[in-house]
């Protein structure tokens, strides 16, 4: 009894936040679809699901997300080996650089990508523009860092001895990888792939910008149905498809992720230098660098172009409000707003994330308890898979009455961002906590340490590096979040992505240049944050 009470007590705060700021708004929007003029009418919703267009949209979403995830994993796993298992100069900077795309607003990346692959771009001959291939490349661009980071962290701390034993038994490198290394990495790969799949399946800007309107995903369709056509039945139907698909995905991955022995032997041996046998990692890393580096390079080059010459004019202009007052506040102010919002979102998602991670990793005494923990784990992943539009509109229609009168609250933006970052935070902390032998905690308790003291003695020393890594993730997610923020941010206090969107949406060469410059500043800020986190997390256990 007491154990269940503790479980509920720990989960209460995150559950309340999730309930008010996610479940309530989303179910509010779904209800709008199911209740037409006050009558419960599920027939219309079901009818939408049988439309050929709906089937086409769902099918495209699934296969493009699968393809994007596959590319990200195929490139990310070998690159993770090189970047986390081998030693070379500039490794930390490279790892930080690769995380930058993760936070760039899709509007800008779309422009950067299209400058490269568009008909007039240097890669225009590929005929990539407006094709499904471009969408998949874009999805991989945004997500390969997640794979590298998650798999790399797991790989870093993998005990090399089983692989050495296999080699001593006569197994070649490929065979060792397939039979020894891959099974040990499987939980991390599955975990990363599932998160990436969710990101891909709910990608919005990439599909719109790079797909040239020929393709619709569930996410873009919900946006169109909700904001343009106000066809809430159809939107509700698709939202339900999203939720069901995510639930199924979480169920499957929780099975695949399960490991018999969570307290795997961990090592922090000094990695060897790069050798000839590392060619797959080198090739993959170079490909990833091209994929990530070229669009970013295009951004930087564009931002340095002033008129027909070169200069820093666009950067100097960031302290102004743009040509002809395109903005209400200078970009520098927006950067400050972004940073402050990110700090709030970070502490919110960290405090919720620690609680959730503690709850889902504590050993269960009964099957029922285990099921409850598994359910909670999945529940906090859901915000990744629900359209920002649904959430944004849901906020407006459900959070308008006291005591939940939040729709004008300044905190809405960081809370929404914290919810988006929460799954990443939990996935970073949970493996570290799960890897702690429960008997360590019992030993502390038997020596007279209370629960809090036990946490400080046993959990915190293991947790603090993953915690910093998670903080970096949350910070970055918050800096780059656009979908929900654009719905909620106030005019007087826009964040960087919103300002960039404004600038690029207004005519004038100056505004375009400023948008690119602001993107570079945002990217650089992210890289600095990530580099700082890199320095602090030497032998991190953090894995998605």
């Amino acid at each position: 009894m007491r154990r269940s009470a503790t479980l509920v007590g720990l989960a209460a705060m995150p559950l309340a936040v999730l309930g008010v700021f996610f479940v309530l708004p989303v179910s509010g929007m779904l209800a709008e679809g199911f209740w037409v003029d006050g009558h419960f009418d599920p027939v219309a919703v079901v009818e939408v699901l049988t439309r050929p267009r709906t089937v086409r949209v769902v099918w495209f979403t699934v296969w493009s997300a699968l393809a994007g995830t596959t590319v990200a994993v195929l490139l990310g796993v070998p690159a993770a080996h090189l970047l986390h298992r081998r030693r070379f100069r500039g490794r930390a900077s490279l790892r930080a650089l690769l995380l930058v795309p993760f936070v760039l607003p899709t509007v800008v990346v779309g422009v950067a990508f299209r400058e490269l692959i568009g008909e007039a771009g240097p890669l225009g001959f590929l005929g990539f523009d407006g094709s499904a291939g471009a969408i998949i490349a874009g999805l991989a661009f945004f997500n390969v860092a997640v794979v590298i980071r998650a798999v790399g962290a797991a790989w870093e701390s993998l005990d090399p001895r089983p692989a050495e034993a296999a080699a001593a038994l006569g197994a070649g490198p490929a065979y060792v990888f397939r039979t020894v290394t891959l099974p040990a990495l499987r939980p991390a790969i599955v975990s990363a792939a599932s998160v990436v799949f969710l990101f891909c399946a709910t990608a919005f800007g990439v599909v719109l910008t790079l797909g040239g309107l020929r393709y619709s995903s569930v996410e873009t369709e919900i946006y169109l149905l909700t904001t343009n056509l106000l066809d809430l039945q159809a939107a509700a139907a698709l939202s339900i498809v999203q939720l069901l698909a995510i639930t199924a995905l979480l169920f499957v991955t929780s099975r695949l992720r399960a490991v018999a022995d969570p307290s795997l032997a961990r090592t922090t041996a000094r990695p060897p230098r790069v050798s000839r046998g590392d060619w797959p990692g080198v090739v993959a890393t170079l490909l990833v660098l091209l994929l990530v580096g070229l669009p970013i390079a295009a951004l930087v080059v564009g931002s340095l172009q002033v008129g027909d010459g070169w200069g820093l004019g666009n950067y100097r202009a960031l302290t102004t409000v743009g040509s002809r007052d395109a903005l209400l506040v200078p970009v520098t102010d927006a950067l400050v707003t972004s940073l402050r919002t990110a700090v709030d979102a970070t502490w919110m998602s960290l405090s919720m994330g620690v609680l959730v991670a503690v709850v889902v990793t504590r050993r269960s005494h009964t099957r029922g308890e285990r099921r409850v923990r598994g359910l909670l784990d999945g529940l906090f992943m859901l915000p990744l898979g629900v359209s920002a539009v649904t959430l944004g509109f849901g906020f407006l229609i459900t959070l308008d009455q006291p005591p939940l009168d939040f729709r004008d609250s300044l905190l809405l933006v960081p809370i929404a961002q914290a919810l988006v970052a929460l799954p990443l935070v939990v996935r970073t902390l949970a493996p570290a906590l799960g890897g702690i032998d429960d008997r360590q905690r019992q030993a502390a308790a038997s020596l007279g340490a209370g629960p809090l003291r036990t946490f400080v003695t046993v959990d915190l020393p293991v947790l603090w590096k993953p915690l910093l890594a998670a903080a970096g993730f949350a910070f970055a997610v918050s800096l780059g979040e656009f979908g929900a923020t654009s719905f909620l941010a106030r005019d007087e206090t826009p964040t960087m992505p919103i300002v960039i969107f404004h600038l690029i949406g207004h005519p004038g060469a100056m505004n375009y240049g400023m948008a690119l410059a602001a993107s570079v500043v945002l990217a650089a800020t992210t890289a600095v944050v990530m580099l700082a986190v890199e320095r602090l997390r030497v032998p991190s256990l953090g894995a998605l």
Binding site: E32, R53, V107, G110, V111, R114, G118, E119, A120, G130, L208, T209, G212, L213, R214, Y215, S216, L224, T226, T227, N228, L229, L230, G302, R324, D325, L327, L328, L339, R340, V343, D344, W347, G392, F393, L396, D400, R407, D408, S409, L410, L411, P414, L460, W464, L468, S486, F487, L488, A489, R490, D491, E492, I498, H502, I504, G505, H506, P507, L536
Partner: protein, 350 residues
Amino acid sequence: MKSIRAYASLLVLALATAGCSTVGNSSADDEPAAKRVVLVTHESFVLPKPLQKKFEQETGYQLVVRASGDAGALTNKLVLTKDDPLGDVSFGVDNTFASRALDEGVFAPYDATLPEGADQFVLDGDDDHRLTPIDNASVCVNVDDTWFAQHHLAAPKTLDDLTDPAYRGLFVAPGATTSSPGMAFLLATIAAYGDDWPAYWTKLMANGAELVAGWSDAYEVDFTQGGGKGDRPIVLSYDSSPAFTIADDGTSTTSALLDTCFRQVEYAGVLDGAENPDGAEALVDFLLTPEVQAALPESMYVFPVDSSVQLPADWATFAKQPSDPWQVDPADIAAHRDDWLREWSDITSR
């Protein structure tokens, strides 16, 4: 040692949090409702700071701006929250969405005194004066005159010209489903070709027209005069766009094709159920004052409805407005938007 470092970093984190957080900052919401006016608008709304101050000084109300989403998102937001409105007054519902807002009873009647020349922008069918026109801008096909001069080709003039093989692969436009100018262009073709518009679009697509997500993709990436120096010299943009492509010699390198335009009019209106209807009316009046009207071109890239205000010099010279733009009855738009967009999607996605 390690634990000391852990504590230290947590402390630093906590301090950083306390110092940077937005929690606890005072907000305008503390003002009593009668003292403030809440304006709900779209993300393109910009009212220069001095004008905002002026309004607050003259009326004694504090102006709170809630801006997000585009005109479509704004309209639908207002519809969804009509029982408990998000504010007192709204700006930004345009003539392509106005009927839906009126049908749903979002706005309360308010008969503002219109400035000179604004009568022509009043929404057809708005007999109770619920929506007040504030600005207008026409979506028109733009051409890069320098490109056509260099290539010794006459620039196109009409919608029909766009399907001429001479201009094959030269046109780029944002899509109707994803952008408000894209929708306006679709409406222009519907006005021009009636029920035959699908045939026109089939020809247009067959002639190598490219469709992209938003205005910025079309103009900044693909258009030859955009920031990204694209390779298509014909783009869908606004009648005011030529005022932004002025070369060193003082002439504009682009021009708008005035026979291809659809006019978008943006309205303001008092929200039904507003907490501060007096303040809302005061703001509608304020948006019609010569100062605000004169600031519209610079701040929001649109033309004022007041024909007596002086336009900026570049606008007066290069931004020509169509005299007889294509029009579609707002009630028709409301009734057929879904069908049109669905059919358009089918044609354009092959």
